[in-house]
């Protein structure tokens, strides 16, 4: 019990990014702050899309009549219009909302399912555990994009409304992610199960459920924030890839960057660059932001990486040992 309480504040203070920012030095801090700024901008854009976007995502006309088709950037349409007559800027802005929703749903679902399965599997062991491990390994080996495509067809028949599209994209991504959480949590659970404080909790008569959720789970989730950042970027990529291959959300239901890129394949050959470049840049920016934060957090939080740096600096001939030491 007491060890759990003692660990708890450490676990909580690890979550806020403030600690990492303080811990970081030099250009690593620059990377972290840049990443955070991009993510902040992304989330704000997504929340305030209705206010920021000049037009609706499926709007084709305003009081001056229909929008021009494939109009180059400038004038009333800052980033131009698509061949279908949508405003590119508006669709890029609204697209952030779709992306954020899918990230949230996919990551939440996969954490819940993955953590629960990993916990139960690692805690109870036995044949159930073995079967789950083999299945998780198999799913992990499956090319993730193919799995997502097949899943999205199973769930929604390939194309769908906003809610259906969001859910099918999210669940398809979830299925790909569950094994990752499962593996990590299971490994930690197996390790924790042998710890003295778990034994003593059992001895004083705590139920399995109480031991699992109070004692084991809280100590098994250290690495989850790192996987979470990695998965967030992968979720965007998968969503965009699904949209790009034509298994995404219809343009009248929501704006989705991958779908817009799919429509722009033909445009590019005709020299219409703005329908491809802007949604693409949006994807790159968000993935970049999340990756920068994830990389920095990984470097800062992983004690193995820290010792590795120390070991390296002893052999370094670059004379920057002091800076590295400071880094630690």
């Amino acid at each position: 019990m007491s060890s759990v309480l003692a660990l708890k504040p450490g676990w909580v203070s690890r979550l806020p990014v403030v600690k990492q920012v303080k811990q970081s030095v030099g250009w690593q801090r620059g990377m972290l702050i840049t990443g955070l700024a991009i993510i902040g901008l992304f989330i704000l854009t997504a929340i305030f899309a209705p206010l920021v976007a000049p037009y609706g995502y499926s709007q084709l006309l305003d009081k001056n009549g229909y929008f021009d088709h494939a109009a180059p950037p400038g004038g009333a349409h800052l980033l131009g219009t698509t061949v279908g007559g949508y405003d590119v800027l508006s669709r890029v802005i609204w697209g952030s909302q779709t992306a954020l929703l899918v990230i949230i749903i996919a990551v939440t679902l996969s954490i819940f399912a993955g953590v629960l399965l990993g916990l139960i599997s690692g805690y109870f062991g036995g044949w159930f555990d073995r079967i789950l491990v083999v299945i998780a390994d198999a799913v992990y080996a499956f090319p993730s994009l193919l799995l997502a495509i097949v899943m999205s067809i199973v769930i929604s028949g390939g194309q769908s409304s906003l809610i259906g599209g969001l859910l099918s994209a999210s669940i398809s991504i979830t299925v790909v992610f569950i094994p990752q959480y499962f593996r990590v949590v299971r490994a930690e659970t197996v390790r924790m199960k042998a710890e003295a404080f778990v034994e003593s909790a059992k001895v004083i008569g705590a139920s399995n459920r109480r031991v699992m959720f109070r004692h084991v789970l809280r100590n098994s989730t250290r690495t989850l924030p790192l996987i979470l950042t990695l998965n967030a970027s992968e979720a965007i990529m998968t969503l965009a890839a699904l949209g790009f291959l034509g298994f995404g959300i219809e343009p009248t239901s929501a704006a989705e960057w991958g779908y817009d890129l799919n429509k722009s394949i033909a445009d590019v050959a005709a020299g219409i660059w703005w329908t491809a470049v802007f949604p693409g840049v949006a994807i790159v920016l968000v993935v970049l932001g999340v990756t920068l934060v994830g990389e920095s957090m990984n470097d800062l939080a992983d004690p193995r990486l820290r010792t590795r740096h120390r070991a390296l600096s002893s052999g370094a001939a670059t004379g920057e040992v002091d800076k590295l030491e400071e880094d630690l």
């Binding site: 799913v139 994009l145 193919l146 291959l245 890129l261 590019v268 993935v287 800076k323």
Partner: protein
């Protein structure tokens, strides 16, 4: 010797602790290691194959999925019966397992060709693309990774690391579209899409028993124009698919070269007055290459997924392109065959990579 291998980022994952213990106790012979790995791959492949079957059947029977609404119900029933989709699902499943074992996946519904033939034709194109992308990844990733390690913590290193992250953050299809826009449309120096221009395709069609790997076929025509044409068509798709892997290679080589630079034998060489650049090129480089082999294995799944996207951008008629076409036609017999094959390729590649890694670095064997 390879005993100086450095930090490998890929912990060996067997998942079965008791198996490890047993192997260690018996001294961990190589044959035993191969046998254990081989036994472990069977359930993986079996589950993958079963998963594909179950998922595809959740959609319904393939005939209704492909032709439902296009044919009157009685004709539909007739075709379902003729194809055997009205039998119990367990019978169909066992038949499917048999098909997988014999490599015969039935015939496509939309084009009525044997799926195995489709796979052979398109698979060659995908193989060619994946090889090109690996070449790009090596040419770009390995030297830049060495450079980053050599100039560690100086500004070129920082620039290279950010470049690697950018490579990773750019979706393959967006990279492809950008490359196409810049080099094929604006500069107009490379072809927009396809695997060869019409003239070259005709000449390639005249090759007797074509491999469908265009570069090999082009060399067999002996026509230098055809060879050039095929190579020009390969540049943009190869780069689009290769850059992601190049970024991963860059980071890995950098990390490993830095690791080996700290080894005793490198220190010894350094104290003898060997120049730093030579240290990187001659001493630290080779051991750092070993983990690349493991990573290629892990990359195969990613590369095959990426190939689907690249082929769609460049109309490269490979397995991915075919897969998307069949998905759009709702031809799930073909989809099932292609997805099964790709899953098996990934599982087998991982097995081969494990074995190769064990040959190179005996420590992997436990």
């Amino acid at each position: 010797m390879m005993t100086t291998t450095s930090i490998s980022e890929t912990p060996a994952e067997t998942g079965e602790p008791d198996q490890k213990a047993r192997a260690t106790r018996s001294g961990g012979g190589f044959a035993r290691y191969v046998a254990v790995r081989l036994v472990l791959i069977i359930p993986t492949v079996f589950i993958l194959v079963s998963m594909v079957f179950i998922l595809m059947r959740l959609i319904g029977d393939p005939i209704t999925a492909a032709l439902g609404g296009k044919l009157p119900p009685d004709q539909l029933q007739e075709r379902i019966h003729a194809a055997g989709y009205d039998r119990p699902i367990i019978v169909q499943y066992l038949e499917y397992l048999g098909q997988v074992l014999t490599g015969n996946f039935g015939s496509t519904i939309s084009t009525n060709k044997p799926v195995s033939e489709v796979i052979l034709t398109y698979g060659a194109a995908t193989l060619e693309l994946v090889v090109y992308s690996l070449v790009v990844a090596f040419i770009v990733g390995v030297p830049l990774g060495m450079l980053a390690a050599y100039l560690r913590d100086k500004w070129p290193d920082a620039v290279l690391r950010v470049t690697a992250i950018l490579f990773y953050a750019t979706p393959i299809f967006f990279a492809g579209l950008l490359l196409k826009l810049i080099f094929a449309v604006w500069l107009n120096i490379l072809p927009v899409n396809g695997r060869a221009s019409i003239g070259a395709s005709i000449e390639l069609g005249n090759v007797s028993s074509p491999t469908n790997i265009y570069l090999i076929d082009a060399f067999r025509t002996g026509n230098s124009e055809v060879i050039g044409d095929v190579l020009l068509h390969a540049v943009l798709p190869g780069i689009a698919l290769g850059l992601l892997t190049a970024g991963i290679f860059l980071r890995l080589i950098r990390l490993n070269v830095i690791g080996t630079l700290g080894q005793d034998y490198v220190d010894a060489a350094r104290s003898r007055g060997v120049k730093e650049l030579r240290l990187v090129r001659k001493h630290a480089y080779k051991p750092a290459l070993v983990p690349i082999i493991t990573v290629i294995g892990l990359q195969i799944a990613l590369l095959l997924g990426g190939a689907v996207l690249t082929e769609t951008v460049f109309e490269w008629r490979g397995l991915g392109y075919a897969l998307v076409e069949f998905l759009k036609a709702r031809d799930f017999v073909a989809v099932q065959g292609i997805v099964t094959l790709l899953a098996v390729i990934v599982a087998v590649t991982n097995f081969v990579v494990d074995i190769v890694a064990a040959i190179i670095d005996p420590r992997v064997r436990y």
